[in-house]
Amino acid sequence: MKHLSVYLWACLAWSQTPDTDWLHYGRNLSGWRYSELSQINSSNVNELTLEWVFQTNVPGKLETTPLVKDNVMYITAAENNAFALDLATGKQIWKYAKEVPRDLQACCGLVNRGFAMLGDTLFKVNVEATLVALDSKTGNVLWETVIDDYRKGYSATVAPLVVKDKVVVGIAGAEFGTRGFIDAYDARTGKRAWRFWTVAGPGEFGGESWPRDTQAFQRGGGSTWVTGTYDPELNLIYWGTGNPGPDMNGDVRPGDNLFTCSLVALDGDTGKRKWHFQYTPHDVHDWDATEDPVLLDVVHEGRKVKAVAMANRNGFYYALDRTNGRLLAAKAYTKVSWAKDIDKNGRPILIPGQDPTPDGNVACPGGGGGHNWQPTAYSPQTGLYYFTSSDGCHTYYMTNQEYVEGQWYQGSTFNGEGLYPKGSIVAVDPATGDTRWRWEMVSPPSGGLMATAGGFVFGGDPQGYFFALDAKTGKPVWHKQLGGTVIAGPMSYSRNGRQFVTVAAGQSVFTFALK
């Protein structure tokens, strides 16, 4: 009898919580980072306990969003490392490692944001700008393709996006005078299927937004280091592009500098541009538009619209009609000193005197922007869009700089000394950008977010806390100190009737569940 009740209970739990995977960087192709699991909820969140820890022992920042399929978790780490872990114990099943070329230059650490998966094949970029396909059962290399020459200043950190039978990747290196692009590779062979240049060349559409008869466009930046999203119905890929180069010196590149600091919508088969939207024309503050472009539906003027949301680094939240790139709404979510507002065509109404100068000029938001690349979350349950924000300003400097191939080419820098920026997690109505709540943090945030049907927003902070906020109110309901900065986005999955929540912190991966 006792046995029966145990079985019944187990069956009940099982039926409530079917096995759920996490197969894409952003959980679904729309980039929601929403888990429909609700076993962990306000009635029991206090009982959340550590299930296992996996120590990568890889120095450097851990930015991975783990993937989970069958009984294995797949994570990538810095410096070309990756691991397959047993889901039940966190024990290593295989490890992939490849030496990083000694002469490689990367702006922001030899990091990696995770795998993409198609069938039994895993895809990741290596930091020296290659794309590698691994057999998920063994970690063996199936193929490796050079995306571009790292000696020119290119590097790769992005988690790829699988679109049908292709693997789409972006590139980094806008601080090294490179010309950015988005590439698609045949998943079976690793052969390049198409390339979209994010800096328009002479004679191409947008080419007139760069100075004529100069090499400026070749060094024009526009890197694409955060994973895009895909709408299968429209067959469009949405991908954000980074700052123009050199970052702080706009004098050598008069014009709007298309398609930097933009969102581009590309045909899912050919990579041809369907439309683009430029958030920051002629950027001089390093405000990449490499934030999650999240696909969601909003009601706009009484009509349901397929939208794409982005909390842009320039301090404004934007909702666009994702069928045509038209602006639906734009609203500042943090202190903004450089633009009064965004006009109805999506162009910022500038406030003069905000550009970098040789002796330094303070502008807000700071160089990392308001919201940066950190994973964001959308909950269809609350209808709110969640993201982190650095709230503060930086001093921006401008210097004339000669271009040398493969070398740092930023045209000076920015600096927050003495300005003490803070941070917050913001929940906005995605239709309008109106802030619904804001949880203030003691310093600029570092980690990504995930929303769950249990009614939480999970996140992590620079001081090593992993926490859950009430998705409706922003009140913290649970936290645990992990002893290492959380930079990655959390994720969730279920096995045998139990919901698990996983996040990387420091050099390790932590998995929690109810006792």
Binding site: C107, P358, G360, T395, Y397, T399, N400, Q401, V404, Q407, W408, Q410, G411, S412, T413, N415, E417, G418, Y420, M441, V442, D461, Q463, G464, Y465, F467, P476, H479, Q481
Partner: protein, 253 residues
């Protein structure tokens, strides 16, 4: 013969580069500053006071204190560390960088005129600095340890630290104020301040630790708990500074 050529190849440049052609040349220093902003600030900070790389404004370097040592580090980097080599900048630009780095450290070279012995007396006596600062094993633990402060900081910085502590705070030594549920207000110097808890030290050397939910309020101010010493005579101040400059880590710990 081949060996000879190799040796010559090594020795000749070394023999040629002993002197900085741009030392003290304001115009060249300015060019050096521009170069530094572009290439070096990501690691050494906009004011060369350090970050991922060490503070370069101290005039004391692990890799040698002579101009040619700095030149060598800039050219070759420090193997096995993040410090890259910049041979591609060419000799002139490396010398400009050396001249710029020197211009940051030179300001402090003028020795302080006071008496270190008198300063020591003032420090532990009338100034009551030892209430909050340790030198060697002696003194209170709330403020920064000053055992090596003469190596770490410039004279100008030290002077400012004493007369106007808020002008440039020692990183991390911020003021925390909490109000407990019993309405007791406690202020101290930050040891940790995060989204869920805070730890800080009061002037009596006591460490306090609170979870935010135990408190009515919990604030951090970017101000110093050190009182400004504006009433010292110029002579007293010079004595005190002479003492601080003499603190070079050689005191028994």
């Amino acid at each position: 013969m081949r060996l000879f050529c190799w040796l010559l190849g090594f020795l000749l440049p070394a023999a040629l580069v002993a002197q900085n052609p741009f030392a003290g040349n304001a115009k060249e220093i300015d060019v050096g500053r521009g170069l530094f902003r572009i290439a070096c600030t990501p690691c050494h900070g906009i004011r060369a006071q350090g970050g991922r790389g060490p503070d370069l404004t101290l005039g004391i370097y692990n890799n040698g204190n002579k101009d040619e040592d700095l030149f060598r580090v800039i050219q070759n980097g420090v193997p096995g560390t993040e410090m890259p080599g910049y041979t591609r900048f060419g000799d002139d630009n490396s010398w400009r960088l050396v001249a710029y780095i020197r211009s940051l450290t030179l300001r402090q070279e003028k020795p302080s005129q006071g008496s270190a012995a008198a300063g020591e007396t003032l420090f532990w006596g009338k100034g009551a600095c030892g209430q909050c600062h340790k030198v060697g094993g002696r003194g209170g633990p709330m403020g920064p340890d000053l055992t090596r402060v003469g190596r770490k900081r410039s004279l100008a910085y030290l002077r400012q630290s004493v007369v106007d502590p808020n002008a440039d705070l020692t990183p991390g030594f911020f003021k925390i104020t909490v109000v407990t549920k019993e309405r007791r207000t406690i202020s101290g110097v930050q040891r940790n301040f995060d989204n869920f808890s805070t730890q800080f030290m009061t002037v009596d050397g006591k460490l306090h630790s609170f979870q935010r939910e135990e408190l009515n309020s919990c604030e951090r101010e970017f101000t110093s708990l050190m009182p400004p010493y504006r009433n010292l005579s110029e002579a007293e101040l010079n004595d005190l500074l002479a003492y601080l400059v003499s603190l070079r880590g050689e005191v028994a710990q």
